[in-house]
Symmetry: C2
Subunit: 387 residues, 2 copies
């Protein structure tokens, strides 16, 4: 009897020690890259609720979410792909899928997680449930020549677009049959270094490091091939000193225009989202890194490369003016909006802090300590394309 | 000892009988209006997982979600406001907030749920946690004259826009201080019968029953006042027979254009989203009711009023052509896309079925029985404006 009693007691403690039920729509994950940790956060309470270690090298780490919002897939710089349960705050699977990787994506149906790799160059597709390897596409752009892969983005129909830095091409791989991907190739230009897909999933853009201009592919009409836009976008004839090549993921579309960081200049460029011609330039305090629109498109928030990385500026898209200049902390690395845009969360790496602002009043409405925080990723990304 | 044992056993059975942990990002709710029930569904498994009764009159019922995706707020026709826990599949709160109501909305910060009422005309604000009444705005447009309220929509800054059918006005109430709302009034026209806010939360549009045209308010610049657009939109000089006034919520924005149901005609109108001028008309099989864009804007799905309510047509926005005609079942009432658009769920009231289609192949990939299903609402609405 005592034994049964003890067993029951254990069952009670373990079975019922399960975390309380909760929705996952207001959760998120902050990368703490120096320590290989992540902090899980709740945007309703505006506070962290768990911290988990064991992720390896998290520099440039990024995150995508399962379609139910329960699991985060963390892509590490060392090729680690880690599946985190946001409810139990535990790592449920982890694979070292390559030696040198940067980022990944999840298919439209949520069943396939794809990682992009530098070495060996290519992409690999994993079962989102088990992290079993399903297939890979080596980035062999010429016999025996493999390219670093950059700018991976999900498209409709379980397709993925990405760019080959060494190959100078855009590839689109269709994983409708996840074990037998089919790939189409399009010319891009010299050394594409990053890519993005527009929020509607239609246009894939690859920024070029080796020359000026941006390669564009209309993925609704790929048979028309890629074309070049923004002929002057890049480092230009003068070869300006560039402190950090801005991510293309730092571009935004708002109110029909694209807002993008000028390279090497203290400017945000405004480009028509329909014909991709420049329609304006906004002077800002530094070389922009992320130029991120609030979900409604009314505001665009901008952070900067060193030595101006303590500033954040807010552009009002209605007037095209900077309406607020903030100094949230030291080394501002990333900004993430809540899905309806009432809050923005900002990582200040060298202050070991995450700061929370009300986007209507610009008041600081919260903050907490995190070790050298970089990327911030909310579960609302699960429902969006191109994240 | 036996007593402690029994208590432990009960604790084990009850405490541990809690529903399993799960994400809420892939859940939804189907209204079964004839029986006052709702069915809870899972879009990953593509099946229902619970059915709950006790909702009263669910004709024209609509649903919004808490920001964590855990709770659904169901607005019934009889003024019932019911809070449902999507995880435990239980009703957690229910108030009868008026005698005659139609729909509601939730604030940007997720803290205030607002219901719109016919009788007595006005809106009421409730605490999203407790459903405690916080404040109300009676729709008294002239001394002693109260109007039915229609077209309630959430705006940024915890504001709500709505239209007064009898008062012929658009009102915007600011609930920044939830117990002391402040209201601005704008002229609309004769008998506004419904309203919508554009997906970016910027423009509020009110359709007019008493005259042709649509009233538009730029909520980013409300000081400019309302103006009239689409002067020919309505029943027209000929006073065509109209089988059902289409909901304005059935309008869509896709690729810079608005797609909207012509009134009394077998046409979908295409209107520029920037200057609101008509740019095209697409001939369809019946009088459109809902004209709903797939989240990427590539497709627009259309259903029809009686006697054509067995058809659904799909318009390709790239070519402006109907590319597929489906006959999903009898009395198609509503359609809801999964957040990334790979599936659409369709209610066929008179077949007592919900049908699930793959939007790329148009294949039927699932179906289940529901009693006279009408509205379908997925939790992804929690992260969006104007739902």
């Amino acid at each position: 009897m005592n034994r049964l009693f003890a067993l029951l007691w254990i069952a009670l403690l373990t079975g019922c020690a399960a975390p309380p039920l909760r929705g996952t729509g207001d959760l998120g994950l902050v990368i703490e890259r120096a320590s290989g940790q992540v902090t899980l956060v709740d945007t309703s309470r505006r506070e962290p609720y768990a911290r988990i270690g064991g992720f390896g090298d998290l520099s440039h780490a990024s995150v995508v979410y399962s379609r139910d919002g329960r699991y985060a897939y963390v892509f590490g710089r060392d090729g680690g792909l880690t599946k985190v349960d946001m409810l139990t705050a535990r790592i449920v699977r982890r694979v070292l899928q390559s030696g040198n990787a940067i980022g990944g994506s999840i298919s439209q149906d949520g069943r396939i997680v794809v990682a992009q790799n530098y070495t060996p160059g290519g992409i690999k597709a994993f079962d989102a449930e088990t992290l079993e390897l399903l297939s890979e596409v080596p980035a062999e752009y010429a016999p025996g020549s493999f390219s670093k892969v950059v700018g991976l983005a999900d498209l409709s129909g379980n397709r993925f677009a990405y760019a080959l830095f060494d190959g100078g091409e855009i590839w689109v791989s269709d994983f409708s049959d996840p074990r037998r991907p089919r790939t189409q190739r399009y010319p891009a230009g010299l050394q594409p270094y990053d890519g993005l897909v527009t929020p509607d999933g239609r246009y894939y853009l690859a920024g070029l490091f080796g020359e000026d201009g941006v390669a564009l592919l209309d993925t609704w009409q790929p048979e028309q091939g890629s074309r070049r836009i923004l002929a002057n976008y890049g480092r230009g004839q003068e070869k300006l000193p560039v402190f950090k090549m801005p991510h293309l993921r730092g571009w935004s579309l708002a109110q029909g225009n694209a807002y993008l960081p000028a390279i090497g200049r203290h400017e945000v460029l405004v480009v028509s989202g329909s014909n991709w011609r420049e329609v304006g330039r906004i002077k800002v305090k530094g070389q922009p890194v992320f130029v991120i629109a609030r979900p409604d498109g009314r505001q665009v928030w901008v952070n900067y490369a060193f030595p101006d990385n303590g500033w954040v500026e807010v552009i009002d898209t209605l007037t095209g003016q900077v309406v607020r200049t903030l100094e949230p902390g030291k080394a501002i690395l990333h900004m993430e909006f809540t899905p309806r845009g009432e809050q923005v969360w900002i990582s200040a790496r060298d202050d070991d802090k995450v700061l929370i602002y009300d986007t209507a009043t610009f008041a600081r409405i919260g903050e907490f300590t995190a070790q050298a925080p970089s990327g911030i990723f909310f579960t609302s990304r699960a429902g969006r394309t191109g994240f």
